[in-house]
């Protein structure tokens, strides 16, 4: 009888070591690994590795997609995420990060950039420019064209004449709307 109680007690004690498979012998993303010398389970590809997407990416980078409203919408979304902190929502370069001391980026509405064209913006996003880092790892090639398209739209929005607006839009503008 005593022995049975003892066995039960030990079984209970063993349960305390049981974490319900909370930690399983597999790696979460970014988990440490003793398998590799640098301690990373998430190893970077060996030098010379060609990405499976390399060709599609290169093609996407070369070919400017046709201008559509979907492209502009995508461009606006990506611009708001990756560009707005420095370039601000309208593209004048008065973002919150330059306000904290980061070198102020040039305005998209300067004469030089207004003539630059979308391929230039794509190349700057891809390779960086001045103190601006490359965004190639964060913005997919197709998205770079989308952002470039949105920058063109921003440029146009800041230099549009009243004649380009419809009567209804002009009325809205006169009322002080945006």
């Amino acid at each position: 009888m005593m022995r049975r109680y003892l066995t039960m007690l030990f079984a209970l004690l063993a349960l305390s070591a049981c974490d319900e498979m909370n930690q399983q012998p597999r790696y979460d993303s970014y988990e440490e690994s003793p398998l590799f010398r640098d301690g990373k389970s998430l190893q970077s590809a060996p030098p010379g590795t060609v990405s499976r997407n390399a060709r599609a990416d290169a093609e996407a980078l070369l070919n400017r997609p046709p201008m559509t409203s979907a492209l502009l919408e995508r461009g606006r979304e990506r611009f708001e995420i990756y560009c707005r902190p420095c370039h601000d929502a309208s593209g004048y370069g008065n973002g919150t990060v330059p306000a904290r001391g980061f070198p102020k980026p040039p305005s998209f509405h300067s004469a030089r950039l207004r003539l630059a064209g979308p391929a230039y913006f794509v190349s700057v996003i891809t390779d960086g420019h001045g103190v601006m880092y490359s965004y190639a790892d964060r913005v997919a090639p197709a998205d770079r064209w989308a952002i470039a398209a949105y920058i063109l739209a921003l440029q146009r929005s800041q230099s549009a004449t009243l004649d380009a607006l419809t009567a209804a839009e002009r009325q809205k503008l006169a009322k002080g709307g945006s």
């Binding site: 498979m21 399983q24 979460d28 993303s29 995420i81 990060v97 001391g101 980061f102």
Partner: protein
């Protein structure tokens, strides 16, 4: 009435093995208790026994009362322990809710998200396509900090990480157990806002777990996803108070989107949705 039973049982006692003897004794006791009740309810019979010079048989040992109290106390203790355990399981201590972990750099989401208005996806780049939201590699930090706070001691580990090519060793804050296969991308694509699970990170100077991440938390939404769906293009928005206040403006939104996405809440709590 009592007598014959006792005689029969005691005979059994003597005739059988030791094990049976114990059993028989127990039965005598049980028979005694039965008989005793009868005696007390029939004074006439009691008189009969007294006259014969026999007392009511003693069926409980002297320690029986103490043992009964001990058992009752143990039961009460077990109940309290069970309640305490349940309470503990939900506590901030056990679920790590609201606990700040020591990090190599005291990164402030309050400053970067709330102050600078940087979108979550600027750093957590894979959240839209991957199961994992993605921790930013050091050079994403350095996109700004190559120019800003370049000699701040607080950021020394970031510069060291960049120089040596070793990743910063962040301590994980929001974690689900290994048997949960959570996928960020589907939640983001369907418009479950970041804030629903991660809380107001724009108000957290140091990162902490906002929700307990217990199964009930997941199930609440999986069984009734409609109220938690938002327009996917605003998924990183932190403050939804105006959405909640003007609920009449979009009372159909969630319901219609559940239909549009083909979400079947009846199947969304299948085990295999989250467990493999």
């Amino acid at each position: 009435m009592f007598q014959p039973a006792q005689v029969r049982l005691s005979q059994k006692c003597w005739n059988n093995s030791e094990a049976r003897l114990l059993e028989a004794e127990f039965r005598v006791c049980a028979g005694g208790a039965f008989a005793r009740v009868r005696f007390s309810s029939h004074p006439h019979e009691k008189e009969h026994f007294r006259a014969k010079g026999r007392d009511v048989p003693q069926i409980f040992t002297a320690s029986a009362d103490t043992r009964l109290r001990a058992v009752l106390a143990l039961l009460a203790l077990m109940l309290i322990a069970a309640l305490a355990f349940l309470k503990y399981q939900d506590s901030a201590y056990a679920t790590l809710r609201d606990w700040v972990r020591h990090q190599p750099v005291p990164f402030s989401h309050e400053h970067h998200v709330g102050g600078l208005g940087i979108d979550c996806r600027y750093c957590h780049t894979s959240v839209e396509e991957d199961a994992s939201a993605g921790l930013p590699p050091t050079h994403i930090c350095m996109t700004c900090h190559s120019q800003l706070w370049t000699s701040a001691p607080m950021l020394a580990p970031v510069r060291q990480s960049l120089a040596e090519g070793n990743p910063l060793e962040w301590q994980r804050v929001a974690r689900v157990p290994d048997y949960v296969y959570f996928n960020h991308s589907i939640h983001i694509q369907r418009g479950v806002a970041c804030v629903e699970c991660h809380g107001r990170v724009d108000k957290m100077p140091l990162m902490k777990r906002a929700k307990a991440f217990q199964m009930q938390f997941c199930l609440d939404c999986h069984r009734d996803p409609a109220p938690n769906l938002r327009p996917p293009d605003q998924v990183t928005r932190m403050d939804w108070s105006s959405w909640k206040q003007n609920s009449s403006e979009h009372e159909d939104y969630g319901r219609l989107m559940v239909k549009a996405y083909g979400i079947q809440p009846s199947k969304l709590d299948d085990c295999s949705i989250c467990h493999r």
